[in-house]
Assembly symmetry: C2
Homo-oligomer: 901 residues x 2
């Protein structure tokens, strides 16, 4: 954790591989000595090997070039004030760790540039509402105390330090007890990282920053150090161990997350992710409860549902038209009793209520997230950081710079004067075109796979129904296998699309890290969204709508009829589809991709290490240093996959909630595990990420709110089009004789004259054959005896009008309510905005007081020379003592004293 | 413009009325001398009258109290460093002007507190895109040069000063040539206003700031001075005169606005208003052009419109059912030929296109406004001002403080410890209730007036149709008079509602000025919106829908049939309604309320002044000082009415654009005048407003974007429900035999068997009597010979489905396109974001350079003592000279030199 002098803390580590070829150690220019390896006590000369003048192989030349670049970079770092330590390159090849320490003056200078807010001496009490709210809070705190993680509070919970951007001129403001520990580890490594990013290396094609050097393989890795080991025995506590014990174990799944500690250790960006995940998970609790209640309501009312009773009633004996040509017989509707009853579980009025609830829930969630974000921003001193935050992400990406350089080289003789330092639209066009084409191709691919599965279903169903033995459970077999195929395809494509999106974004060569991230996210989101949801959309809105009618069915591929939904409605199938894809995706992705694959990787690496034991340093492996340990961990690659997984899940929870009210429950169960899984990954399996300051979760919020809005219209359509809710309502209020649903089933079934069945499609070997004159089918069409038989009937159009009217009303009503909720809940919690105001005025007071005291201490001349030259002093005959004891009074007085000395 | 010493500039003026009662001048405590009237050369003693010990009347006591409060306040101002000058209270009563001057050290101190950004010495070039863009810009500039106002540029247009918040410690950064003119007038008055707002006056119930004192009548007015006279003869130029000549005259209506000068003179808030108004007006140009084209398309295709030709065709001879009971006869549809042809002007497919265009136009406008706002924010150095801006609006309102004090007094014995310093929900409840009730009442009032006009129309129409002579033009008479009644009511209620909204907001006692403004705007907007649009909504969506059918008409009030639309459809009437209300409102409000009323007020005041000539100072009236002149102007009362007028107009332009494509043209014509009218008002008729810094137009943007969204659904419904677009489409593609609209009119008319007319409603003295067996009416109903006569037919339901489907498709498509446009156009223009980035890096460089130079100049000890205590210096064996010539390199080097000296 420290340099060899055991005093200077290691703030950052750069790692690289070196290799020497036998005797010729190839130093290039021996004059260039890496002069400043400042490991005080050892101080050995590095130039152990003689200067090699044997000619170098191409590999060696590259190696030599890299060494020079490293040397220049490191000397530039030292010029910037950083202190470096590294081990000797004693062996033929191996890893070298360059440890970096930032001394106080560098920290102070950079903190001032970066406007890092640090606590001042001044503390103030945070007011907690009225007396009732106070008592309520106390009770709540007592009740929730077993759920609180056992993390030592940084300070009194009810007091907060005033913060102010660090300034070397105002050192007296801050409570600097020890300079070594004034900035915490995350801040220190952030500062070093900032320097690393902007230090240039002229030899390496003038690239800027460590990221380019890593991209060019000059260094292999750059990472800050973990605080220690998370599973070390004994009582010595560090933040990492604390996080492991109180957060990153499944055993503590019921506890709140120690968000402040997470932020302190990993920085704001990761802190916000876990805060977001925590809020999302806790918001899933009420929706799970209501979802379960809605489901139970469906279970409870299953016996009272008249349509399903009528369907199950053997006496009604609706003779239905055959489901396939020739081999299928007429059938009795009561044989579909089971699915009818099952679909009532999800197709009842409570789901309409539930989908309205969930739309508002999504809005509430987003609003509360905004509030929590503001609250965290306040406690983490993030208010007003945007400028600085942006700048840290604005460094051009190394790939972009390379491209620009290439362009400049190419156009050198063309004498283009203006555009040479950036890529124009023309340069980017191939990339964009490629992107567009690939995305189009992949979406087409997804659709064709969905279509392929449909074809599979149609053909398999037709094949199976030829065989009498399998005919009975055709539907179950076909549906189940098709969904599993869908699931597998989704999982595979998900991984492929993730990689493809990355590749496409690289082709696009975005200028900054931020644009890179945003474009990557958008592309990945688009592809993964289409991938995960297209089979579901098909079942919800298209399946069973292009069937045609008896006598003129729609055929695809030489005589296969388009598939229909089960007699209970498509909603049931939608529900099956949804639940299998959602559960399967979560279980498999969690187990295989998040637990299994990292374990495999670890195993693989271990095996590899064991096969190459020759270079292993026995001394090191016994007591490995922290940088060795961290080096063996996986590098941190960003939060995108974590967010993406959750966003897709959010889609499952909101988009089709009308058809699957249990989705929130499953999401909740998944997320309770997910939180700890992610936590474990960050604490134990990844190198420590750079602490990135950010105020919000960026583009994810927009995506979430987009999904929330989209879900309104999707749910409106699911209820109106997929479910039987509207036809029932129309029947009840317009056609029913007694205002009940009795006769509804009969009403939804049209008549068909079997004599009009096309030649060759009549059922063979029918049991009904002789007596059947009319068979029934589910549609609103004119009966055979009407003047225009089989046209859509008036009922069809009136039900359609009702469905569409419902969509309009539902969509606009829910949107309006969402806007209202959005408007009613202020984005900034009242107490926080009060605190911010208070903090601002306290800051001014505190400032003036400190300034005043400082003036008293220092001598006056400097002051006089500064304040001199104003000829208006003569006019101020009396600077009579100010009167009021109010803060403004004292403020005015101190100011006037200031100007009068 | 200056104090009597002709040196110190008057930055602010406080005005109050005083009155002395005869001999007893009532000084209260003679020890309190207003010691500091710093008008250098005169220096008269103010205590001319003897100290009065005659007892004071109640009026005098109040007067005395006020005097004391003024004295205290003024001495507090002086304690804060301001310099005051006022005239003697020589006469028995009159106005006294307290002139305030802010000396340099006060300005410097406050500028630092307020973080006012000022230009530094460093300038840099603003890059203007590539070479093609440059040339294009140059051409554009040449072309538009006659449109450019002749205002001297502050500086080179292609250079910009780096700005940095003022800091007394960094004076070397700024280009301070003369301290008197470093801060411009607007900034100076803003600083003084800031001090005035926060200076306490303990005698006046401890109130804070000048606003409370004005509210309590202790002062009468407080205003900064105008720069001079706008119509002074001669060549001496000041900003006000310049503004008048180049902006605030009708003669320059074709020119661009000199936005930068407006901002410099009036501050950012008013500058943004005019920038917004200008952008809105220029955006109206394309929409006007397209609107006119759409209208002309309607005119051009009028001869080809098959339905109106069919209606006009005498041969068709559709015998229509009578329009009223008894007195009306059957009539021939061809007699309504005129209205049918007229309604084609507005009811054609081009309007569908136009309303989609306008929805996107609204989005584009808002997006471009965001961009312009960012651009102005950049050039006006508003980036990152939010914190400070908020604080200036966060002062509690005097009314709020009074209320809190009252509450504290009342609850003094109840020992409530916590809530005493703010109003709880319980205290506010009566206010909220009153608000809610009043708003509800006023909305009901509006609705009942609309209903009253309907009743007027029904009864008048019935009365007129009894008389044969008037029968022919019943519809025209009734419609015209009703619309004019509506218009007058709207105009009157508009004024009333404005006042009521203000009163209601006062009752609510919001805490800060900002909440006050926002709530007032919301209330006023709600009331005015409902007022202006409810008659239009009625015509668009409700008129003619509750008529019933022949044989069972809907009656209101004993036998008056509900009103129907003209045979050409309701769209024609909607168009008339819209155009009259919009034009009438604009013309009358502009002419009467914005030109007439101020003139009347001025006249009235002049008359009043002439009737009270006794106190007039003959000397003053000859050469009145600027403060006298300004005092005689109207006080500035905020931008709310100006914005409100424009927002309501924006509603006319977007909400019903499907029915009135000429709305943008009229809006454009109005706005060209409106800009100069408002400009004139600000330059010539109002006291100079306080310069308020703000980044955006606040809540107005939300309202605009709300209207934009609302307009999508309204236009969808207008096209689907009010116009005949959908029925024609349905007829053409589903019912027509040859795909044309031939037979459409016949298809829309249902049959009615006249023998089924209710007894007593048959037409008397019919010309048709003998031969009529069936009459026709406009509806989709089953014919009399169907099994269920007069029920809605299948056509009805299919057309309804099509209408609703259109609404869904239109709404979601347009919303999606808007989101896309919103997303595609970045909120920050690329060049501006590049400039901001560049500015940021330049700032850092500039800083380091200046710091470096400063270090060279000053001596070292101070530096050493500050930078000392770091034990890590020993480790830095070589601080080798930095290599790269890149900015980062030099930055690092200067920083290292800094820490090494």
């Amino acid at each position: 954790m420290h340099f060899h002098d055991n005093q200077r803390k290691v703030d950052y580590v750069l790692a690289y591989h070196y290799r020497k070829r036998g005797a010729h150690l190839g130093h290039g220019s021996p004059g260039h000595s890496l002069a400043v390896i400042s490991n005080g006590e050892t101080g050995k000369e590095r130039q152990a090997g003689g200067p090699g003048d044997i000619e170098l192989g191409p590999l060696d030349a590259l190696e030599e070039q890299r060494r020079e670049q490293r040397e220049e970079f490191e000397s530039n770092l030292m010029a910037a004030g950083l202190e470096l330590e590294k081990d000797l390159e004693s062996k033929n090849q191996g890893s070298v760790f360059v440890r970096i320490h930032a001394p106080w003056q560098v920290l102070a200078r950079e903190a001032e540039f970066l406007k890092i807010k640090v606590p001042t001496k001044k503390m103030y009490e945070i007011k907690a509402g009225g007396s009732i709210a106070k008592k309520f809070n106390a009770v709540l705190q007592k009740l929730s105390s077993p759920l609180q993680p056992k993390v030592p509070e940084h300070s009194n919970n009810r007091m907060k330090n005033l913060s102010y951007p660090f300034s070397r001129e105002k050192m007296y403001l801050y409570n600097i007890q020890e300079k070594d520990s004034f900035f915490d580890n995350a801040t220190r490594s952030r500062i070093v990282h900032e320097i690393l990013k902007r230090t240039a290396c002229s030899r390496a094609n003038n690239t800027m920053g460590i990221n380019s050097l890593i991209a060019n393989n000059i260094y292999e890795a750059a990472y800050p150090l973990h605080d220690g080991e998370y599973d070390s025995p004994g009582d010595d506590m560090n933040d990492r161990k604390l996080l492991y014990q109180e957060w990153a174990r499944y055993g503590v799944f019921y506890k709140f997350q120690p968000i402040d500690l997470i932020r302190k250790y990993f920085g704001e960006k990761i802190g916000l992710y876990f805060a977001w995940l925590g809020l999302y998970t806790s918001f899933l609790i009420p929706s799970s409860v209501i979802g379960v209640i809605v489901f139970l309501y469906g279970c409870a009312t299953i016996e009272e549902d008249i349509p399903s009773k009528e369907m199950c009633d053997q006496q009604n004996a609706f003779t239905m038209c055959p489901l396939c040509d020739k081999s299928c017989d007429y059938w009795n509707l009561s044989s579909a009793c089971g699915t009818a009853r099952a679909s009532h579980l999800f197709d009842n009025p409570a789901t309409v209520f539930f989908s309205i609830f969930m739309a508002l829930w999504a809005t509430m969630f987003l609003e509360n997230w905004k509030r929590l974000q503001m609250r965290l921003g306040y406690f983490w001193d993030l208010t007003g950081i945007e400028e600085e935050e942006v700048s840290s992400l604005e460094h051009s990406r190394p790939e972009y710079e390379t491209k620009v350089r290439e362009k400049m080289l190419k156009e050198n003789d063309k004498s283009v004067d203006d555009d040479e330092d950036k890529l124009t639209w023309k340069d980017r066009f191939p990339g964009y075109l490629m992107n567009f084409a690939s995305i189009l191709f992949m979406i087409t691919l997804t659709f064709s796979i969905v279509f392929g599965v449909i074809v599979y279903r149609i053909t398999t169903a037709a094949a199976l129904s030829l065989n009498k033995a399998t005919r009975s459970n055709v539907r179950v077999t076909v549906t189940a296998t098709a969904v599993i195929i869908n699931l597998v395809v989704i999982l595979i494509l998900d991984e492929i699309y993730g990689a493809v999106a990355k590749w496409l974004t690289k082709i696009e060569v975005p200028k900054t890290e931020q644009t890179f991230e945003e474009r990557l996210i958008l592309k990945a989101f688009l592809l993964k969204f289409v991938n995960a949801y297209s089979p579901i959309f098909y079942v919800a809105f298209f399946k069973g709508r292009f069937v045609g009618r008896p006598g003129s069915y729609v055929y695809v591929f030489d005589g296969y009829r388009m598939e229909e939904c089960a007699p209970g409605g498509c909603l049931m199938e939608l529900c099956i589809q949804l639940s299998i894809i959602m559960l399967g995706k979560q279980l498999i992705q969690n187990n295989i991709f998040e637990i299994g694959v990292p374990k495999l990787k670890k195993l693989f690496r271990k095996l590899k290490d064991e096969t190459e034991p020759g270079e292993a340093d026995p001394e090191h492996s016994k007591h490995p240093e922290q940088w060795d340990l961290d080096y063996s961990l996986e590098p941190y690659t960003g939060l995108t996959p974590e967010y993406m997984e959750m966003i897709i899940q959010f889609g499952f929870v909101t988009l089709f909630v009308a058809s699957f009210p249990l989705a929130p429950v499953f999401a909740l169960l998944n997320n309770v595990i997910e939180v700890r899984l992610d936590a474990k990954k960050f604490v134990t399996e990844l190198r420590r990420p750079d602490a990135v300051r950010t105020k919000d979760i960026g583009i994810w919020f927009d995506i979430l709110s987009g999904i929330g809005k989209f879900s309104v219209i999707i749910n409106a359509f699911v209820i109106a089009v997929t479910s039987d809710f509207i036809p029932r309502l129309v029947y009840q209020y317009s056609y029913s004789h007694n205002g009940t649903l009795h006769g509804f089933v009969n009403h939804t079934l049209s008549f068909f004259n079997v004599s009009q069945l096309k030649e060759g499609t009549q059922p063979e070997n029918s049991q009904f054959d002789q007596e059947v004159q009319f068979c029934r089918f589910k549609d609103y069409r004119e009966p055979p005896w009407a003047p225009n038989p089989y046209e859509f009937s008036k009922q069809y159009w009136s039900v359609l009008s009702a469905r569409l009217a419902f969509v309009i009303i539902f969509q606009n009503l829910v949107m309006f309510m969402s806007v209202l909720v959005d408007w009613m809940i202020p984005d900034i919690p009242t107490d926080i905005s009060d605190q911010i105001k208070k903090e601002k005025s306290l800051l001014v007071d505190f400032f003036l007081k400190e300034e005043h005291e400082k003036l008293k201490l220092t001598d006056e001349p400097a002051q006089r020379s500064q304040g001199g030259g104003d000829r208006s002093r003569r006019s101020r005959a009396t600077s009579s003592a100010p009167s009021g004891p109010s803060p403004t009074g004292s403020r005015a007085s101190s100011a006037s004293q200031h100007t009068n000395v």
